[in-house]
Symmetry: C2
Subunit: 320 residues, 2 copies
Amino acid sequence: MMNFPSPADIREAAERIRPYAHRTPVMTSAQLNRLAGCELHFKCENLQRIGAFKIRGAINAVFSLSDSEAAGGVATHSSGNHAQALALAASLRGIKATIVMPENAPAVKIAAVKGYGGNIIFCKPTHEARERTLQEFLDASGGELIHPYNDFRIITGQATAGMELIEEIGAPDAVIAPVGGGGLLSGTSLSTTYFAPDADTYGAEPALADDAYRSIRDGIIHPPLPPATIADGLLTGLGEKTFAVISQHTRRILTVEEDTIRKAMQLLMERMKLVVEPSGAVALAAVLQHPKEFSGKKVGVIISGGNLDLSQIPVLLQTS
Amino acid sequence: MMNFPSPADIREAAERIRPYAHRTPVMTSAQLNRLAGCELHFKCENLQRIGAFKIRGAINAVFSLSDSEAAGGVATHSSGNHAQALALAASLRGIKATIVMPENAPAVKIAAVKGYGGNIIFCKPTHEARERTLQEFLDASGGELIHPYNDFRIITGQATAGMELIEEIGAPDAVIAPVGGGGLLSGTSLSTTYFAPDADTYGAEPALADDAYRSIRDGIIHPPLPPATIADGLLTGLGEKTFAVISQHTRRILTVEEDTIRKAMQLLMERMKLVVEPSGAVALAAVLQHPKEFSGKKVGVIISGGNLDLSQIPVLLQTS
C-alpha cells in the first residue's frame, strides 16, 4: 500500500512554489461555453513560467531537498518541458542540474536547458538508452534523481494547479487534465478528491496514445505506443505511482481523436487568443468529444502548456 | 476649438460598457522586461470581446444614443474589427446595424458581422466607394452614422482601456498605443493626461504607414499610404478629431520597422503565449526599437487585438 500525498503535503507544496511560480489565471469564454454546452473554466498553465505546469513539480522537488541532498545536484532524463523545469528550479536554488536528452531533441529545447545553466548529456533516442545513460551518470557522479512524473514530490507539486483552480472558481462538478506519464493527472485527481470531494476528475488522452486508458481498464501498466499523435507531450507511459493514484482517484480516462485535438487547439487560439501546444488542448478536446459527460456542468479544464514551434501552427491545425 | 471628452465622460463610458465588455487582464513578463530594459505592463485587448478594443467604442456609441436615435439603427463602413464591434453592440441593444464593406473583405470578417446579425452592403474596395455607398444608404434609409474613429463617442469608449490600465498598475511613466485612424491613441492620450498626468503617451506606427507621424510633424492631416505593412489594422489616416487630440495630448509618434513588428509578435506569442495580430504588436515593437525613450521606466503597453488568420502566422513571423 502506497502513502499518497496528503492535503497538507499539497498545501506545503503550494507555499514552497509560491515565490517562484506564477499563480496562473483562470479564463472563461461565453462562446466556448455555448459551443460545449457546459461552463468551462480554463486553468492557463500555458501562461506558467517555462510555458507549462512542469515548473510546479520541479520546484517542489528541488526545494524539498535537504541542504546535503541538494549539494550533490539533481538529474533526470527528459526531452521536454521537465528538462527546462528542472534546470530552472535547480538554478533558482543555486545547485547543479544534469539532464539526459536524446540526441535528436529539438534545438530550441536544448537551448532552453542550457539557458538555465543545465548540464546536458546526450544519448540515443530510445527509452533504454535514456534510462541507462542516466543511471550511469548517477552511479559515477551521484546526485538526486528527479523523475519527470513517477515521483510523489513531482505529483504533489503538479497538484497545486488543481488546488488553485478550485480555490479560484469554487467547487466544480468536474475537473479534466491531460494524461501522459500521469504526473499532472495524479496531482489533479488528489486535489479534486481533497478540495472538491463531490467533483469527478477525468483524464484526457489521444486515442493514438491510449496506453493510460488501457492500463486503467486492464489493471496493469501498458507500455507507451510509438509516436503517432500530434500531442507529443503525452507519449510517455504511466509509472507505478501515477498508475496507483489514477486507479483510485480518477473517474474515467476519455480518449480523443486527432481532429478533435486540432479543433480544440484552433478554438483556444482563435476564440481565447491563447497559444497552446497540442497536448495543452487535449482536455478541451475531451469535453468536445464526450459532451454527455459534461452537459450543463461546471468544468475545470487544465491547459497544460503552450510550448510549440510557431511555424508548425498551420500544419497542426490542418484537419484530415 | 473642439471640446474634447472630459474625465467624467470617460468614467461614464466605463460604466456604460461595464456590463458588456471584459475588463481585460494586464500581464507582465520578467523575460520581456529584461529584454526591453524597462518594466512592461501589457493591457491585453486581444482578450477583449471580438478580440479587439473596438468593442469599447462601439458599445459606448450605441448605448449613448437616445431611444429615438437608436430606433433608426446604426451604420458605418469598415472591413475590420469596427464592423464586428458595431454589429455586436447593436445586437446587444436590439437595434439594426448596417455595415458597408469592400467586396474583397475576408470571408471570416463577413461571417463574423453576419453572425452578430449585421446587415452588410458591399461596395468597390476604394475609400471613395465606401464613403459614397454609406452616404447613399444613410440618405435613403436614415440611421445614425458611427464612424470607426473620428467620433468622440468612439474615442471616449476606447479611452476606457487606458483608464483601466492606470487603475490596475498605478501611475506609469509612459503609455504606448498603436495608431491607425487614431481612436485608440486619442482615447489613451486623454486617459493618461487625466488619470496619470505625469506620464507621457506615445503612439506607435509602422514606418511603412507613417502618415500619422508625418501629420503630427507637419501640422496637417496626410492621407494614408498604400498598403505595404503587415500591420494591416493601421492603414487608415487620422480624422480631424483624432488629429486634434493627438496633436495636443500625445508626446511623440514612434515609427517601427516591419522586422521589429515581426519580432514583437513572435515574443508575445512565444514568451507570453498570447495570440496577437501584427497591429497588436506594434506598441511593443516601438519599445524595442526606441529603447532610450523607455529605459528603466514603468511602461503601459496596449496590445490592441488578436484577430488574425492562424494559417498566416509563419509568413507573418518571417523576418527579411
